[in-house]
């Protein structure tokens, strides 16, 4: 028991250093570092949430995506004086409780929510498909937000290429993606609030 705890803590703090470095570069606008951060983060989230949502494997990938979107939209609330683990875990917990509350099965949770800061202790890169398709929600966005996202996501175009394809300016494409991501997160939140 003691050995596994030490092992996972060491692994967690190594991951903390690595992820924090990538994230901080991302906050300064380094897209490549940020991309790498998000990839690693999603693997950690998948393992973290997968273990806690043991009974609902279908929900895990949805929640991973929701957490990623929330962390992206709220990344300005991270300050370097704080362990990244604490920030990530607080958001993951918030989103998980939200999900469980909307399913009203909070009491059926296997793990107590007051957990140690172990969100980076494990990772799982094996993504299953998300059940709630974000692409469906995407269709409800206005064109000036939807089109840049569709072009960059589906066609895999760069921002410059998406600008040519849509006839929008590059900064309009960037603004469209930015606002679209905020709107997607808001739609997920209100969708749960009303259901």
């Amino acid at each position: 028991m003691a050995r596994t705890t030490t092992g996972s803590t060491t692994q967690g703090s190594d991951a903390e250093l690595l992820l924090r470095g990538l994230f901080m570069r991302g906050l300064d606008g380094d897209a490549a570092a940020y991309h790498q951060f998000l990839q690693r983060l999603s693997a950690h989230l998948r393992a973290f949430l997968g273990k806690r949502l043991f009974g609902w494997p279908d929900e895990v990938e949805d929640l991973v995506q929701e957490c990623l979107l929330a962390m992206h939209n709220q990344r300005h609330t991270y300050q370097p004086d704080q362990p990244l683990t604490a920030w990530v875990q607080a958001i993951a917990r918030y989103k998980m409780i939200d999900l469980l509350r909307s399913k009203s099965v909070r009491e059926a949770l296997h793990d107590p929510l007051e957990d140690d800061l172990a969100v980076f202790a494990e990772s799982d890169t094996d993504a299953s498909d998300a059940r709630r398709d974000l692409a469906g929600l995407l269709d409800t966005l206005p064109d000036r937000q939807r089109l840049p996202i569709v072009h960059v996501k589906l066609q895999g175009l760069s921002v410059a290429e998406a600008a040519t394809a849509t006839g929008m300016s590059e900064s309009a494409v960037k603004v469209g993606i930015h606002r679209g991501l905020k709107a997607l997160a808001a739609r997920i939140a209100t969708g749960k609030g009303t259901s």
Binding site: G26, L27, D28, G29, D30, A31, A32, Y34, H35, L38, Q39, S42, E61, V64, Q65, L68, L69, A70, H72, N73, Q74, R75, H76, T77, Y78, Q79, Q82, P83, A86, W87, V88, Q89, A90, I91, R93, Y94, A127, D129, A130, D133, L134, A135, L138, I149, V152, K153, L154, G156, V159, K174, I177, H178, L181, A185, A186, A189, T190, G193
Partner: protein, 213 residues
């Protein structure tokens, strides 16, 4: 959508992010709303005419500084509540200690006063309007603080709403002190504190609804 696609999409939106956004947003909200609150005080109630003389009385400064220090602590606590995974810790003391000191002062001055004066110290001349007036002045500050919180990530929305309310109420009480004629500590300990508690309760009630993200 595959998670890898989402990750790639999010990475395209990697514009540099401003630092200390929580403190900055809340500070901007306060800077914009405090003048509005002061304007409401001036237009609805008016600054007391003998303000210059009153400034030499210690109780006037108690009346201004106790709510002010609660407002400062409220700011510190709120910007922590607005950031996921940040503990508030000693910040709570900053909210609590000024109230406790005021209550202590009120108790002492009430017990030391002759019995005939005591009722006056508690009710003053304006107890009927004080709570309502403070709550009214707090409205613009409360709205601004809640709007600032909307763009942040409070994971405990009821608490964050309550703190926004306490901050708004305390700042409003400090503003209202420039109109109010009461100078007895027991009056402040009851009615000023009640005036701050009203927006706090409202914040606790509406927080979970309004601060979802």
């Amino acid at each position: 959508m595959k998670t890898d696609d989402l990750v790639a999409l999010l990475a395209t939106d990697a514009a540099p992010v401003p630092r200390r956004a929580a403190s900055r947003r809340i500070a901007v909200a306060l800077l914009l709303s405090l003048p509005v609150a002061a304007l409401i005080m001036q237009v609805e109630f008016g600054v007391r005419r003998d303000l210059v003389q009153v400034m030499f009385w210690p109780m006037f400064w108690v009346k201004v500084l106790v709510p002010s220090s609660i407002a400062v602590a409220g700011f510190v606590v709120l910007q922590r509540l607005a950031r996921p995974g940040v503990a508030v810790r000693a910040g709570w003391l900053g909210l609590l200690v000024p109230v406790l000191l005021l209550w202590g002062l009120a108790m002492v001055s009430y017990l030391l006063a002759p019995e005939t004066r005591r009722a006056d110290m508690v009710w003053g001349q304006t107890w009927r309007t004080c709570v309502f007036n403070i709550a009214t002045i707090s409205i613009p500050i409360f709205v601004a603080a809640m709007l600032a919180l909307k763009g942040l990530a409070p994971t405990r929305p009821a608490l964050a709403g309550a703190c926004a309310g306490a901050l708004a109420g305390a700042a409003a009480a400090a503003v209202y002190a420039f109109h109010c004629i009461e100078l007895a500590a027991p009056f402040l300990a009851i009615w000023y504190v009640a005036g701050m508690a009203v927006p706090m309760l409202v914040g606790a009630l509406v927080g979970p609804r309004l601060l979802r993200w």
